[in-house]
Every structure is written in C-alpha cells, then in structure tokens.
C-alpha cells in the first residue's frame, strides 16, 4: 500500500541542513506495514535503559560482516520507535558503503551523508511518510571513496551532534565491524546494537568483533534471519514466542 507523502523541510544552521522530502519516499510505509511481526519483536528494545533516558539518544546498529541484515534491522527498529510514543525519530545511513537504505525504501539517487562528510555539499535531504510522521530517514548516498577517512571526518561528529539536537532518538546504520570503520563512529554514540545473522556468521568472528567495541556501549544482540526448520507443531510446542 502506497503512503501519501507530504513536504516539511527543516533547515540546519551549521552548514548542514536536513530537508524533508515526501515526494520520493515510496516504500517506507510498505516496508513497515509488511513486517508487523518484526516490529512486535523489536518492541522489547523500548524497555532498554538507554531508551528510558529523558535526554536525546543516538544508537548505532552494526554487524560483524556485510550482509547480516543491518539495514533491515535498523529500518524496523526506527519504525518501531516511530510507532511508539517516542517523537522525532531519525534513521541515518552511515554505512559508507552504498545507498542500501535508500534502495530499500525506494528512494531515487540523491546526495546523502557521504557527500556531506567529504564536504562536497552542505545540505542533505531527509525523507518521511505520512503514516510515520515521526520518522525521518537520511540516506547515505554513494559509497564513500575512502570510508576510513569519512568515518573519522569532523563532519561526522557534527552530523551526529545535529541529529542529537533535532531528534529524540537517532538510529545510525553503521559499517560492519570487520571493516574497522565503525569504532570511530561508535565513540559519538550512546549505544550499539549488534546484528548477528543466525546460522551464518561464525561465532568466533562475532566474539572477535565484539572485542573492538566498548562493552559499556553494547546494548545487546539482535539474532537475525533465524530459520525454523521444524513443523509448526514443533514451534508451537517448544518455541511459542515464534
């Protein structure tokens, strides 16, 4: 189901602006509606102590390697937060490796955060939809030519500071830990959620990646893409939460 769009641009004052564009956000509502079960499962995260704080929080979502479903989890987490009583939720694509988030929600090619980080532009456009008015999405744009440099750029910290000022909760889609670009960004965050693809990512690799993070900032792990091979009676009998 397509969501009606509306326009509500927001100007920033430090040479970096978030402008809201409803015209090109086509599938966010569809995605959010299509996966209600996922939203229900992620609702438990709302009870985490970090999200119970009164001040604005910035939370990162990362994984050990590429392809573990960080974009999906971040999108669903942002949608879940936006559906709750939390106002002003922002999802920023700091993946630095491509415009996965934009493609996922059906945005056309547009300059994103990577362009801001390499200081080629000073304005980035955020998107939202009518059904999730409290959620804004900031796309990543093209892949950064030098992700390590981009992760350590002063603009990155400025962008996160601005996000903390503008929104109650900001969800940051981070690069994978194996690339080494996530830790510099994590320093500016309040917490990190680690996505692990069940049955795919080796546990030794995950344990090794966890050592690169500040343990006090690790909120927890989201076990993603669990495949239940047994019949429904088995799941109902032994894993009713499924």
């Amino acid at each position: 189901m397509r969501s009606p769009v509306k326009k509500n641009a927001t100007a920033l004052t430090v040479g970096l602006r978030f402008e809201r564009d409803h015209d090109t956000l086509a599938h966010l509502g569809d995605v959010a509606e299509a996966l209600p079960q996922l939203s229900v499962r992620l609702a438990d995260i709302l009870n985490h102590p970090i999200l119970q704080q009164e001040k604005p929080v910035v939370i990162g979502v990362t994984s050990t390697v590429v392809g573990e479903g960080v974009t999906s989890v971040a999108l669903q987490l942002a949608a879940t937060l936006a559906r709750s009583d939390i106002r002003r939720v922002c999802l920023m694509d700091f993946n630095l490796g491509g415009d996965d988030l934009a493609e996922r929600v059906g945005l056309s090619a547009t300059p994103g955060l990577t362009a801001v980080l390499d200081e080629s532009v000073t304005t980035v456009v955020s998107f939202g939809c009518a059904e999730l008015e409290d959620l804004q999405i900031v796309p990543g744009g093209k892949a950064a030519p030098n992700p390590a440099r981009a992760a350590r750029a002063p603009r990155a910290e400025q962008a996160l500071t601005l996000a903390r000022e503008r929104f109650d909760v900001t969800i940051i889609e981070l690069p994978p830990l194996a690339s080494g670009d996530a830790p510099p960004l994590v320093e500016h965050l309040d917490g990190v959620v680690l996505v692990v693809c069940a049955g795919v990512t080796p546990k030794d690799l995950v344990a090794s990646a966890l050592t690169r993070l500040d343990k006090t900032k690790v909120m927890g792990i989201v076990l993603n893409r669990i495949q239940v091979a047994g019949p429904r009676w088995l799941v109902r009998k032994f894993a009713p939460w499924w």
Binding site: A34, L35, Q37, L38, R41, L42, D44, I45, H48, G69, S72, V73, Q76, V193, L194, V196, A198, G199, V200, T201, P202, K203, D204, V206, A207, L210, V218, M219, G220, I221, V222, L223, N224, R225, I226, Q227, V228, A229, G230, P231, L234, K237, F238, A239, W241, W242
Partner: protein, 480 residues
C-alpha cells in the same frame, strides 16, 4: 537470559534442518548394509558332529585317575585349530583338499594366489557343542563342495588325531626311558661319592663325633684337675722347703756335764808344785814364774769353762722331722714331675681332639650334601620309574584308542543359511544401523556447527544479552 531453548526443540530443529542429509545417510546405510548381509548370507553351511570317547573310561580301568580341566570336546577343537594351521604341502589342509576331490580344486600354493583358499580358511570353523561332542563346519557358496570339504575334514581329523595321540604318548615313554637312564647313572655316582667320603672321614662322621666329644671333655676335666692339684702341691712344697730351712738335719742325743777343764788338773799340779816349792823355800823368782804360769792356766780354764757352758761332751743323732720333711719334699717333687709330664701328655691329646672337633661342621655339611643329592636322585628315579610305567600303559591305551576315540555322529549335508527370520533380522540390522548413523551425523553436524542459532548459546558465548530474535524476512513474507 532471553529465552531458554529446550533440548528437545534443538534436537528436532537440527533434525528437520538436516533431514535431507539424514535421509540420504539412512537410506544409503540401510541399503548397503542390508544388501551386503543378504548377499553374504546367501551361503550354505555343512557341518559334521563328532563324539569324543572319553579316555577316562579306559584309564580308570587301568587304574589311572585322569583329571583334565578341559573337556574332551574342547581339546579336540583346539587340536583341530592347530591342524588347520598346517598349510604346508602335504600337511593337514593339503590332505583335506586332496581328499575332498573338488570339481574346481583349491590350491594352497601361495604363489598361485588362489582367492578361494583364503576364503576357505575363514569359512571353516570348529566348536564344542557339549562336553563330549564337537562340530566341524564350513560356510560355503557351493553346497556340494561344502559337503565334500567337511567329509574330508572329518575323516582326516579322526585319522590325524588318533595318530597324534599315539605318537605323543610314545614320545613321552621314550623320553622317560632316556631320563631314567640318566638319573640312574647320576644316582650311582652320588652313592659312590657318599661311600668314599665316609671312608676318608671316618673320625668325622656323626657316629664318631659323640665319643670324641665325650673323650675330649673327660681329658679337659682331668687336665683341669691336674692343674688344680699342681697348684696345691706347689704350695705344699714351698711350705716344706721353708720348714726345712728352720729344721736342723741332726738333734742332740746326750750331753756329759764336766766340772773341771784339762787345765784344772794341770793347775792343781802346779799348785802342788808351788806348795812344795814354798815348802822347799824356793826362790821367789821361781815362785813368780810359777804364779804367772798358774795365772795363765787359770785364765785358760776360765775361758774354757765359759765356752763349753759346762758341758764336757755332746752326742748327736739324725733329726726325724728333718728326715720326714726331706722325704715329703722328695715325694712332692716326684709327684710334680709326674704331674707335669701327665699334663703335657693330656694337652697334646686335647689339642688333637680339638682339631678333630673343629673339622666336624665342614665334614658333616659335605656329607649331608652328598647324602641329600643321593637321596634326591633316588626319589626322582622312583618317580620317573612310576611315571614311565604309567606312560607305557597310556601308550598302550592310546594305541587301542587311536581308531576308536572319535566317532562321527551325523551325515554331512549342506543347508542354506538365509531363512525368512534371518532376512528380517538382516533388514532390521540395516535399518537400525542407518538410523544410528543418520542421527549420529546430525548430532556431529550440530556439534561442529560454528555459527550461532539459538538465543541461549548467543548469550552464553558472547556475554551480551539478546535483545530480539528475528525470523528470516523471506519466511515471514511468505507467511504474511
């Protein structure tokens, strides 16, 4: 902990996740095992039961008490297995195969590498079915060949076992004969050695030892007594000698008392002369000279009187005490010389006897050893003679039993080994093995899985809480 994953759920989940692999392993294993067992089991078995006549019956009649811990049937099985190891040309197995007269002969020549021979070795078996009965059998593809081989095995075994038993007992008898001769010679040598030793060491033999010891004791006592007597005699001799010093050899028999000395008469004569001269009115000078002479005589008379004490004459005789003491001393000296001579003689004898006594232990030990060696050989010879006699009797029994101790009990006939019940059992074994291997593979695969699948494992291994567990979007999408 997020949610506890039930072990049953995990096992079933692992099973359904690997069901394709499980099916492949199960079907493959069950099929292969069942097929192999069916194929291998499609054989024929031929067996021959043989009764062993116990030798005890005959032995007891002969007075032997045979106590074997092993049953006759077990002994026969062991003997059969020993014979089956003889695979030389002309040996037991070769004779059996020649006697079987197979249509397709089996050769035992290792250079020809006949695979049927290797199969044959594994297919033949022997087992005891009771105390006195055992079975020889073969599992073979061709029933006709199986019957022929078993018949040949039966005949050859009966023949060889009888001959072997007879040969064995005869070898024992021959061995015992040799042993008896050797021991007899050794015993004679030992006996001669004992006799020779007794001759050369007569005084040192145990019978003479007691008298020599008693005699030595008597002589030593006598010598001690002599020594004590000698001491006493020496003391006595010293006392006699001391006494002799103080005893005069003579004693005064009688003494004559004299009142005037010879000078008195002369003096009286001079006095008469002086009176006559006075009367004669002789010269004074003559009187003075006469007076001087008379004075000298008076002086001599007085001196003599003082010297003789007034005893005019003494008669002496031998002192009896002195004589007695002299006799005692002479006797004592004589006794002492005799005692010294006697003691010297005794000491020589004692020294000789002591030397003999000192040689007693060595001689006695040597004699004991020689006697013991002789007695040991004598006892051993007795035992050998008894055993030889028994062995000769056993050899006689063995000659009698050689052809009658093993009796065939059935007609050899081959039967198929695979019945309906066995087929069902084979199928069951295949299925059970397939199930076992399939499940084992699933368990091993789950155990070796390096990834994270369950919340509990994730929390335990990573030390961080699981915030949410999300199903695969594709699955959820399909479900939606």
């Amino acid at each position: 902990m997020y949610r506890r994953n039930h072990i049953a759920y995990r096992l079933l989940d692992a099973f359904f996740r690997s069901w394709v692999l499980f099916t492949l392993v199960f079907v493959g294993t069950a099929g292969i095992v069942t097929g192999a067992l069916m194929t291998r089991g499609n054989t024929h078995v031929a067996s021959a039961a043989i009764r062993v006549v116990p030798e005890n019956e005959v032995s007891e009649v002969m007075g032997f008490q045979q106590r074997n811990w092993v049953n006759p049937s077990d002994q026969s099985v062991a003997r059969f297995n020993d014979l089956m190891r003889n695979m030389l040309p002309g040996g037991f197995v070769d004779k059996v195969l020649q006697g079987a007269q197979l249509t397709r002969p089996i050769t035992i020549d290792s250079t020809e590498k006949d695979t049927r021979f290797a199969t044959l070795r594994k297919s033949i078996y022997a087992a005891a079915t009771s105390k006195d009965v055992f079975t020889i059998g073969i599992v073979w593809d061709d029933p006709d060949e199986a019957e022929k081989i078993v018949r040949s095995l039966q005949e050859r075994f009966i023949e060889d076992a009888g001959l072997a038993r007879q040969l064995s007992t005869e070898r024992v008898t021959a061995y015992l004969d040799t042993e008896v001769k050797g021991v007899e010679a050794r015993m004679r040598r030992a006996e001669l050695a004992v006799i020779e030793f007794k001759k050369t060491h007569q005084g040192q033999l145990p019978t003479a030892q007691a008298s020599i010891t008693a005699r030595l004791q008597t002589l030593e006592e006598e010598r001690s007594l002599l020594y004590a007597t000698s001491e006493d005699s020496s003391t006595k001799r010293q006392a006699v000698e001391e006494r002799l010093v103080h005893v005069s050899p003579t004693s005064i028999l009688s003494q004559t008392q004299r009142f005037e000395t010879p000078f008195a008469a002369e003096l009286r004569a001079l006095q008469r002369k002086r009176r006559e001269m006075v009367l004669a009115d002789a010269y004074k000078s003559d009187l003075a000279a006469l007076d001087d002479e008379m004075e000298q005589l008076r002086q001599k008379d007085q001196d003599l009187r003082l010297k003789s004490g007034g005893i005019a004459e003494t008669q002496y005789q031998d002192n009896p005490e002195y004589r007695d003491l002299q006799m005692q001393l002479t006797d004592l000296k004589g006794e002492e010389r005799a005692r010294i001579a006697r003691m010297g003689h005794l000491s020589e004898q004692v020294a000789k006897l002591q030397a003999q006594v000192a040689r007693f232990p060595a001689a006695e030990r040597i004699l004991n050893e020689k006697t013991r060696a002789y007695e040991s050989l004598r006892d051993f010879l007795k035992d050998l003679l008894k055993r030889r006699e028994q062995a000769q009797q056993r050899a006689h029994i063995a000659r009698i039993n050689a052809t009658t101790a093993l009796i065939p009990m059935n007609r050899v006939a081959a039967e198929a080994t695979m019945g309906a019940k066995k087929k069902l059992m084979t199928l069951g074994i295949g299925i059970a093995l397939g199930l076992f291997l399939g499940l084992l593979l699933i368990v091993l695969r789950e155990w070796a899985d390096p990834t994270l699948r369950y919340e509990a494992d994730t929390e335990r291994l990573l030390g961080a809480p699981v915030l949410a567990s999300l199903p695969d979007e594709r699955v959820v999408g399909r479900a939606a």
